[in-house]
């Protein structure tokens, strides 16, 4: 995909696009970084987002968008390199370190991020956050998973249905 280079001038300056969050904050980023989003890539290919126009993102608030763009800027060089088959081990280790630190955040921020990554179709970010949430629940019992994810304790009615469900699995209280 030649998208990231399509707007480059002869002087080598990277093409910039403007993204506008739901609370009307404007973010100016390189088209190459924004193009990690499959959704935005189409608009950018069509020449959108440049100049004073900006691309409105009514589903993403400024705090989330800022975080999303932090990810995109960091990953854009590797993505432009076709998944970075030629990346050095040092580069890969640096990205891995960044990723690990990047998702070391509050659950509510993780949720906002994965929603934004889903809406903007940023595959790498979706997988990164999905893996983090999966890591938070792996090895836990069903009740621990409910508590970890902030589900309320089951009501008596729900508990009864859960018990019935357990019986489907052959479990019996002794």
């Amino acid at each position: 995909m030649a998208a990231p280079e399509s707007g480059d001038g002869n002087n080598g300056a990277a093409r910039m696009v403007t993204l506008i969050s739901s609370d009307n904050t404007r973010f100016e980023v390189e088209a190459a970084a924004a193009s990690l989003s499959q959704t935005l890539q189409l608009t950018i290919l069509d020449g959108g987002g440049g100049g004073g126009d900006g691309i409105p993102l009514p589903n993403v608030d400024s705090a989330t968008l800022s975080k999303v763009l932090e990810y995109c800027i960091k990953h854009a060089p590797a993505a432009a390199n076709g998944g970075a088959p030629n990346a050095t081990a040092v580069d890969r280790a640096e990205l891995e370190r960044f990723d690990n630190e990047f998702v070391n955040i509050d659950q509510s921020v993780l949720y906002s991020l994965i929603m934004a990554a889903h809406n903007l179709e940023i595959e790498g970010l979706q997988s990164l956050v999905a893996k983090k949430v999966a890591d938070m629940i792996k090895g836990k019992s069903p009740m621990e998973i409910r508590r970890t994810l902030g589900f309320p304790d089951p009501t008596p009615e729900e508990q009864a249905e859960m018990n019935a469900h357990m019986l489907e699995y052959g479990w019996a209280y002794e």
Binding site: A134, G150, G170, W171
Partner: protein, 392 residues
């Protein structure tokens, strides 16, 4: 009605991503493929239960992980779990359900793609068993082998699912083949059973002076579209049956491999794939010394063996003491991991053939041939669900 879940109070605009089917699917496919994962999450709430028992989810889960986990090993008589609690599947859970004395006339030949293959030479039958479902199917020997013209030596079960992007590991309901290798007074014979046609195909023969020697243990290995097994008489070589082309061939072992005239009972052999293109690896273990050859295609189109590495396992593995210890023994080969299973006097190891990286097996295993069972454990399994609920 047990609903999905409600978020704790938060910003009003925040819609839980866990209510989004695609996002929840993405999160849950990232759970490790160990047996307890899916039963556990299926008990979190109805919505999750429906999601993780959906065949489409299970397909994505397998496709994401690519490789089924190793659950344990079958021997002739029982199952030995490989994982620790809560993923440890108890021995009794996989029970063939055939009592003695008949049980003792069934010998295990192979375990692959979710099925175990047994042979009963006195009844002239094979038994194909899917431990996950308990389903059993008995197959009569093909005609050539019923009349005693040929003797059954090795067999391999092979999933032939035609689904695009199929990932092996949940194949117990997929169509399968049984690939049979035998010998007769003129050489070797092979035949392929297809569950689709419920019939054996043609008998393929190769006239040869070589013989199989069943006193040397070397389990048959699937390499690409071939089964490879060791031949020892009159010289060390490999019998290769290509079950797609239906052709048998004998390949000479590396010329610098040991002279069988000097054979010692502590010699052991392993044949393994060298690459995805069907290349071969030949491993010879004498005492603590492992030598490993790879068969490469030369520029003239011919193939030749190259000695890749020689490893002293007494220095390489963390053995408590190699002094006065019995040498390690090759117990089996895990195809999915391209790893041999090796036991020393005190420990068992999985060693990747090629890189020779190893990891210790935490469970105690017997010193006998082991047939690895790799499988994605499906949801809705009674026993595992019970295990997971212990801490509810």
């Amino acid at each position: 009605m047990l609903t999905g879940h409600r978020l704790l109070p938060g910003p009003a605009s925040l819609v839980s991503p866990l209510d989004n089917h695609d996002i929840l699917t993405k999160i849950l496919t990232h759970l490790p493929p160990v047996p307890s994962s899916i039963p556990r999450i299926s008990l979190v709430c109805r919505q999750w239960s429906h999601l993780v028992t959906d065949p489409d989810f299970l397909r994505l889960f397998r496709a994401h992980h690519r490789k089924a986990p190793l659950l344990g090993f079958f021997t002739r008589s029982r199952f030995y779990p490989a994982l620790d609690s809560p993923d440890c599947i108890p021995t009794d859970h996989f029970n063939l359900g055939i009592d003695n004395p008949e049980r003792w006339s069934w010998y295990i030949l192979n375990c692959r793609h979710g099925r175990v293959l047994f042979v009963n030479r006195s009844q002239r039958q094979f038994l194909v068993w899917a431990p996950i479902t308990g389903e059993q199917q008995r197959l009569p020997f093909p005609q050539e082998f019923c009349s005693n013209k040929s003797v059954v030596r090795n067999g391999v079960v092979n999933c032939v699912a035609s689904e695009i992007g199929h990932v092996h590991g949940s194949c117990h309901t997929c169509p399968f083949q049984v690939i049979l290798l035998g010998c007769n007074k003129n050489g070797f014979t092979a035949s392929v059973y297809s569950s689709r046609t419920n019939a054996w195909g043609n008998t393929i023969s190769l006239v040869s002076d070589h013989r199989m020697d069943h006193t040397i243990f070397c389990s048959p290995t699937v390499v690409g579209n071939s089964i490879c097994t060791l031949l020892t008489v009159p010289s060390l070589s490999i019998l290769q049956f290509d079950f797609i082309l239906e052709s048998l061939a004998v390949i000479e072992a590396p010329s610098d491999a040991p002279e069988l005239a000097l054979y010692q009972d502590r010699w052991q052999f392993l044949i393994a794939p060298a690459d995805a293109a069907g290349g071969l690896t030949f491993l010879f273990l004498s005492g603590f010394t492992a030598r490993l050859w790879k068969r490469r295609i030369n520029s003239d189109g011919g193939a030749g063996w190259v000695l890749e590495t020689t490893v002293d396992l007494s220095e390489f593995l963390p053995l408590s003491s190699a002094v006065n210890k019995r040498p390690p023994r090759i117990l089996g080969f895990v195809e999915e991991d391209n790893a041999m299973l090796l036991c020393s006097e005190d420990d068992s190891f999985m060693i990747h053939v090629g890189s020779m990286r190893y990891k210790k097996v935490t469970r105690t295993l017997p010193r006998c041939p082991l047939h690895p069972f790799t499988c994605f454990y499906p949801a809705g399994n009674i026993y595992i669900a019970c295990l997971c609920l212990d801490h509810l």
